[in-house]
């Protein structure tokens, strides 16, 4: 707002972007699990200034989550093991959606199940709700039938899951990939081949921390998901690997974004939009600030449309 006063109107860089069938005012979304259901942040930043928000992951039924301690800090990051606690589809529709419908920004609902059927059921029910602009499928959940291995770790399992959900979801369907893989490209390809509209890269990386005095894990479930600036180089690499292989669906880049420069790194690496996660804890107004910083960067570098940045990395090859 303030910055548009500094310069003539016509110079304002175009920030809108399209990703996975959804048009966004600008490329900055907030990440699942770090922004609640939006409401709590209404007093802290202008939701209308954001490209969009992604809700906490929803499952068909409410879930209780894991015992505490659930989080701990690490070097430039944090571990969490919330255990996918959430209110369930019904309570979401009843209690959270009314606010989201009028919050003034795009709403993606992150969802998951513990079985194939739960995924399909959950996707179908959420997609039917008014006020939901799109779905983001969290495939980093333990597949009980496969000995607890994440659904999203095997390209074949993942492809089947995407196909099944795609068949019932008539809204934009994004798939959020797990970084606990040696081959992110195959996972992205499995999504593209089975009808996903976009891939979100990345979810948290499995990690752990130990309290040496008590000799116990700092997280009750032993392992937790690592997020924050620490993982940015890994996330950026995965985004670029997928982009380089010309997988034919767009990418939403996630992982350790703290400021506009970080966000632009993801755009250059090939993301069409980004999500801000842990940084919303560090600085609850950061997502709005990041929009401003991207705009300032565009002005300073003479970029008239943020789309020019997407995939514009020069590798000299």
């Amino acid at each position: 707002m303030t910055s548009s006063l500094d310069t003539r109107e016509e110079e304002a860089p175009a920030l809108h972007t399209t990703c996975g069938g959804i048009e966004f005012r600008n490329p900055v979304l907030t990440a699942s699990g770090t922004f609640g259901y939006g409401e709590e942040f209404d007093a802290l930043l202008s939701l209308r200034s954001l490209g969009g928000l992604v809700t906490k992951g929803i499952s068909p039924q409410p879930r209780l989550g894991n015992p505490p301690p659930r989080i701990c800090e690490t070097a430039a990051g944090m571990l969490n093991s919330i255990g996918l606690e959430n209110v369930g589809v019904e309570a979401f529709a009843r209690e959270k959606l009314p606010f989201l419908r009028s919050c003034g920004t795009r709403v993606l609902v992150n969802f998951f199940g513990t079985t194939f059927d739960e995924y399909v059921d959950c996707g179908a029910r959420l997609a039917a709700l008014d006020g939901v602009d799109g779905l983001e499928m969290n495939v980093s959940c333990p597949n009980i039938k496969q000995g607890g291995i994440e659904f999203g770790r095997d390209p074949t399992v993942l492809g089947d899951l995407v196909k099944a959900c795609r068949a019932v979801v008539r809204k934009p369907l994004w798939v959020k990939l797990t970084p606990n893989t040696s081959d992110i490209v195959s996972l992205a390809r499995a999504c593209a081949d089975n009808g996903a509209d976009a891939v979100s890269i990345i979810n948290t990386i499995t990690g752990m921390a130990i309290d040496v005095r008590t000799r116990r894990p700092k997280i009750a479930t032993v392992f937790g998901g690592l997020s924050g600036p620490a993982i940015k180089p890994i996330a950026l690499r995965m985004v670029h690997q997928v982009r380089r292989e010309k997988i034919p669906i767009p990418i939403c880049g996630i992982g350790g974004i703290q400021d506009g420069i970080d966000a632009i790194e993801f755009l250059l690496a090939g993301a069409s939009c980004v999500q801000v996660g842990t940084q919303s804890f560090v600085d609850p107004a950061s997502a709005e600030r990041i929009v401003r910083e991207i705009e300032e960067h565009c002005r300073a570098q003479g970029v008239s449309d943020v789309g020019e940045l997407i995939g514009a990395l020069e590798t000299g090859k």
């Binding site: 709590e40 906490k56 070097a75 600036p229």
Partner: protein, 279 residues
């Protein structure tokens, strides 16, 4: 609840790693309730990354807010070194706070170590309502070095009883020993006022206070701590096992809980005692 920049206007060391950080620019904290807290972060880059939860010690006019902090790690060490003029980000006031003082209730405010701030503010608020002299504060710590702001507490007009584990000041022993003694006294005195306990301090102390309150059937509130990331109920990190729901959140449903709500999952007395004693 607001998110804003404040400035350190005074940083007063109390010795023993304790210091009072006086912040200016905290107009949005006016009207905060005792027991509420803020998430605070200095201008220190990414190490540490997350803001730190700190209880309000006192909130005055003209946007002044005081925090009492003890150095335990990186974040608090950086705060201790923040000179006047330093910029800090503040998110608050957060959480629920203690029940308001009431004329027909005598409050026993039980503070352990750096658990003092919310009870200090509660006493201050009782004083403002003219109810301080009905209540008393029991304040315990390891040594006399860990008992801080004694003059300031007395100035609030509340009776103050101290306990130190090494006997260097007040009763030798734990603050819960003092609590038991005072409960005996109050029962003997057969005061017409109903008794109520509010406590903040190390977890073992809280469990012990909760058990005492339960055994005497006294209304009791405990201010809990958990690791926090967001402070506003979105990360779901600060869960505590509870009675009415599987989990409640310290930042959103607390930090102050009716003891019965959280005592269900407290360890048995013996374990906790020996754990505490092993230190």
């Amino acid at each position: 609840m607001r998110y804003f920049d404040a400035r350190v206007i005074e940083n007063r060391s109390l010795g023993g790693g304790y210091f009072v950080l006086r912040l200016g620019g905290c107009e949005s904290l006016t009207g905060s309730r005792p027991g509420q807290f803020v998430m605070l972060r200095g201008d220190w880059g990414r190490d540490p990354l997350l803001p730190r939860p700190l209880s309000l010690l006192s909130v005055a006019h003209e946007g002044r807010a005081d925090l009492l902090v003890k150095v335990v790690g990186k974040g608090t060490a950086l705060m201790e070194r923040s000179p006047p003029g330093s910029r800090v980000s503040v998110l608050g006031p957060l959480g629920n706070g203690f029940p308001v003082p009431s004329a027909d209730v005598a409050d026993l405010l039980v503070a352990g170590g750096v658990g003092l701030p919310p009870l200090f503010m509660q006493a201050e608020s009782a004083g403002r309502l003219g109810m301080a002299n009905g209540s008393e504060m029991l304040y315990g710590a390891r040594t006399s070095r860990d008992l801080v702001l004694l003059g300031e507490i007395r100035a609030l007009g509340i009776a103050l009883r101290l306990a130190t584990e090494d006997g260097s000041l007040g009763r030798r022993g734990r603050v819960t020993d003092e609590l038991e003694a005072r409960l005996d006294h109050w029962r003997a005195a057969a005061s017409p006022r109903r008794l109520r306990i509010m406590a903040c301090g190390p977890r073992e102390m809280l469990w012990a206070v909760g058990r005492i309150a339960q055994s005497c059937d006294i209304e009791c509130y405990l201010s809990m701590e958990e690791q926090m990331a967001c402070g506003i109920g979105v990360c779901l990190g600060c869960a505590v096992a509870a009675r009415t729901r599987p989990y409640l959140y310290v930042c959103k449903h607390g930090p102050v809980f009716p003891a019965a709500e959280v005592m269900a999952y407290a360890p048995a007395a013996s374990t906790s005692q020996s754990e505490g004693g092993a230190q």
